[in-house]
């Protein structure tokens, strides 16, 4: 038992912190800290820097750029990246599709996809959710019919983050009928430039464009883009969800938001009520930081699926980001009234967007943390059933 960080871990943290500040341009870190929408090329620029430093895919197999770092170190790295305001390596690439290809893809697929995924030369988005299949993922309906050397794909995905910036999409598609809902699902990589695909923006209440609907109409996808075996897509999705959880709690992100709340608080820091909320948030965050370490230190084989205790990280981490956003919002006082997001903001970085608008926007947008990626209600179901063993007989 060693409840403190070791000397080695502390040095690692310092080295990472130094490297991030040294290597990633300040304009990028400032924009992230102020939660302004980042131009695509800045995101790419940042990830290439991280990849050069070995920070983009440390959890991958060594052969594909992974590092032999402990889970604790990887968690430290993730925390520091977030905290420094460095855009985190695109999760769709490095935490989701990459590990699935590394584990189940053909050698050809690995060579073709993994390096550009790590370097963000190829931007992936995730095609899981469909209208009518949100938390109930297994009832998805997008169809892929095998026709010779390709699939003909038709259907719709929704809530697709950054589909408008992405080059590729990884999709769960239905390749078989009948049987249980989980069966007959396959995992397919689709080039978004293929004819028959339309990406339509979903405008959200934070005033920006992150989300999309993606429509597929008779899209021809080469059969070689199938990952693993046909009909095993559900297993791969489970594997994917069991992947890298080192930053699931968003500890560094919350730390950054709370630090900023302190910065903008001014005289509110002496207001006992606001101050007390900040104190609670900082305590909860300290606890979460350690809970995160405990979960990641408890390494499991990815085939075991996600550790159900990651649900704690998801719920608590999301709540903290929401609390931090509220603290910032409330610090604005009456001046929040003039901090709406102007129409069309976000297309270019600084167009009409002052820091206060970004705060209001972040408050609205933060509601997503308890919705996407498995709503908090689903996470509590998981905790009750998988950890506490409740309700199995009902």
């Amino acid at each position: 038992m060693d409840l403190s960080f070791t000397e080695d871990e502390r040095h690692f943290r310092e080295a990472v912190r130094w490297t991030l500040v040294e290597r990633v341009p300040r304009r990028i870190r400032d924009a992230v800290r102020e939660e302004k929408p980042l131009p695509r090329e800045w995101t790419v620029e940042a990830q290439r820097i991280l990849n050069r430093e070995g920070y983009a895919v440390p959890h991958w197999p060594l052969q594909w750029g992974g590092r032999d770092w402990s889970a604790v170190k990887r968690a430290i790295l993730a925390e520091e990246i977030d905290r420094a305001g460095v855009p985190k390596p695109l999760p769709f690439n490095v935490a989701l599709v990459g590990p699935v290809i590394a584990a189940f893809g053909s050698d050809e697929q690995k060579r073709r996809f993994l390096p550009p995924i790590a370097n963000l030369d190829m931007w992936f988005c995730q095609g899981f959710s469909e209208p009518g299949a949100g938390s109930d993922l297994a009832s998805l309906r997008m169809e892929a019919v095998r026709e010779g050397d390709h699939y003909r794909v038709s259907g719709q995905k929704i809530w697709t983050t950054y589909a408008h910036k992405a080059d590729w999409i990884f999709c769960l598609v239905r390749t078989g009928k009948g049987g249980r809902k989980h069966e007959g699902i396959s995992f397919l990589l689709i080039d978004l430039a293929t004819p028959g695909i339309e990406v339509r923006p979903i405008r959200t209440i934070d005033g920006y464009h992150h989300l999309n609907e993606v429509f597929f109409e008779d899209v021809r996808v080469p059969a070689e883009n199938l990952v693993g075996e046909e009909g095993k897509g559900w297993d791969y999705a489970r594997y994917l969800l069991g992947q890298e959880r080192s930053s699931m709690g968003n500890v560094g992100f919350s730390r950054r938001r709370l630090d900023r709340a302190r910065e903008i608080a001014g005289p509110l820091l002496d207001d006992p009520a606001w101050r007390r909320r900040l104190t609670w948030a900082e305590i909860e965050l300290k606890a979460l930081e350690i809970t995160q370490m405990r979960v990641v230190a408890n390494e499991r084989p990815p085939s075991a699926g996600p550790d159900p205790k990651t649900s704690i990280l998801k719920v608590k981490g999301g709540e903290l980001l929401q609390v931090a956003a509220e603290l910032q919002l409330d610090a604005l006082g009456p001046e929040a009234l003039t901090a709406g997001v102007p129409e069309g903001a976000g297309e270019t970085l600084f167009q009409g967007l002052d820091a206060r608008s970004a705060i209001v926007s972040a408050y609205f947008s933060s509601r997503k943390f308890s919705i996407f990626g498995g709503a908090n209600e689903i996470q509590r179901n998981i905790l009750a059933k998988a950890v506490l063993g409740l309700g199995k007989t009902a």
């Binding site: 949100g134 209440i205 934070d206 009520a273 919002l329 929040a336 009234l337 003039t338 901090a339 919705i371």
Partner: protein
């Protein structure tokens, strides 16, 4: 006690509800035409005494109107111009400006807050000095909801004699109105007065009593805001319950999940308590200063807390749909967020209650 609206009150409520819903459905919006509708239905004169040229409606009638306004997400500058600025004009005896407002010709708005001072309004850094036979007004105001190029800006300013109130007509030289979007898609302004020369009669009211009358006008506007929030929350709960009954997951309507049912029940309870406190605030509007102030602040604090909870949970229960701009839940959430902030956030009002020594029991 009797909580049932009388026959006339029911008629009023029904007719404004119809009007506000018509306006909400209008595309594109024609603000001038809508404002004429407000005038024609009598809303512009509603809260003012008959002696002031108004209809003599009471705080209960205002509550009914503002509930309907909140339900329909009304966008007209009614609360800011009529219920806040107008009531102040009536209280300080600015009869011409009031008559212009009631006639639909003038649109006064009150410039209450200043940058960096949060919700403090009673000791403005903005100042007016006597100059020749008029005034020179200088300072900066922020967060003026519904201010526009055509507004008469009513500006509290420190003078040698106490708190002055100055009416600044549209187009006055030295006035800069910086229009910005509000988080719920309306407009608000930051205003700068650079040595603005005003005639002697621009000073309205009496510096000896302005502060007291302004406090009363603000309390009235806060009670009206509580009613607006109440209407918005009730409608938002209806939208949410509707969604829960329609949207299916895992083969059943999601409204059949007990955890979601209980959340909706908690929203209902929060709203019912908010309604009760709004009633309390309205009933206490006639009371003396500090007692009225504590009751109104207590109401706003509780309604604020309810609004944050109801707004956030409505989004949660809608899932991703709640985050989209197309679906109505998000607009209600945005509106509630703005109203929560208006006239002071929750902590601000709790401080007010505590400074008054707490709530007096019956």
């Amino acid at each position: 006690m009797n909580f049932e609206p009388g026959e006339e009150q029911q008629l009023l409520a029904a007719s404004v509800a119809r009007l506000f819903e018509d306006h909400a459905a209008q595309l594109p919006v024609d603000p001038a035409a809508q404002w004429r509708d407000y005038r024609d239905i009598g809303l512009l004169g509603l809260p003012f005494a008959e002696a002031s040229g108004g209809l003599g409606g009471g705080a209960e009638e205002v509550m009914l109107v503002m509930e309907a306004f909140g339900r329909a997400l009304g966008r007209a500058p009614y609360p800011s111009s009529v219920l806040l600025a107008g009531r102040l004009l009536e209280a300080v005896g600015a009869r011409d400006l009031l008559a212009g407002l009631i006639a639909g010709d003038r649109r006064p708005v009150l410039c209450l807050y200043e940058p960096g001072r949060r919700y403090r309004w009673d000791d403005p850094a903005t100042a007016a000095e006597r100059a020749d036979d008029g005034w020179l007004l200088s300072g900066a105001k922020c967060a003026v909801l519904d201010a526009g190029p055509d507004s008469v800006l009513i500006c509290p300013a420190t003078t040698a004699d106490g708190l002055g109130l100055f009416a600044v007509p549209p187009g006055t030289a030295g006035v800069t109105v910086d229009l910005l979007p509000t988080p719920d898609g309306r407009r608000a302004a930051n205003v700068r007065f650079d040595a603005v020369a005003l005639p002697a009669d621009a000073g309205i009211g009496d510096p000896a009593t302005n502060r007291t009358l302004l406090a009363a006008a603000i309390d009235g506007a806060i009670a009206a805001t509580c009613a607006e929030m109440l209407g918005a929350m009730e409608k938002l709960l209806e939208i949410t319950v509707d969604y829960l009954g329609t949207r299916r997951q895992f083969g059943v309507a999601i409204g059949s999940f007990q955890a979601l049912q209980h959340r909706a029940a908690d929203m209902l309870m929060a709203i019912e308590q908010a309604r009760s406190m709004t009633i309390h605030a309205v009933a206490m509007l006639g009371a003396a200063g500090e007692e009225r102030g504590a009751a109104v602040a207590a109401a706003k604090a509780l309604v604020n807390r309810a609004a944050r909870f109801v707004g956030q949970q409505a989004i949660q229960l809608h899932g991703g749909m709640g985050l989209t701009s197309e679906y109505p839940a998000g607009a209600y959430f945005q509106r509630l967020t703005v109203l929560e902030n208006l006239f002071g956030d929750t902590d601000h009002h709790l401080d007010t209650v505590e400074r008054a020594g707490g709530l007096k029991a019956a």
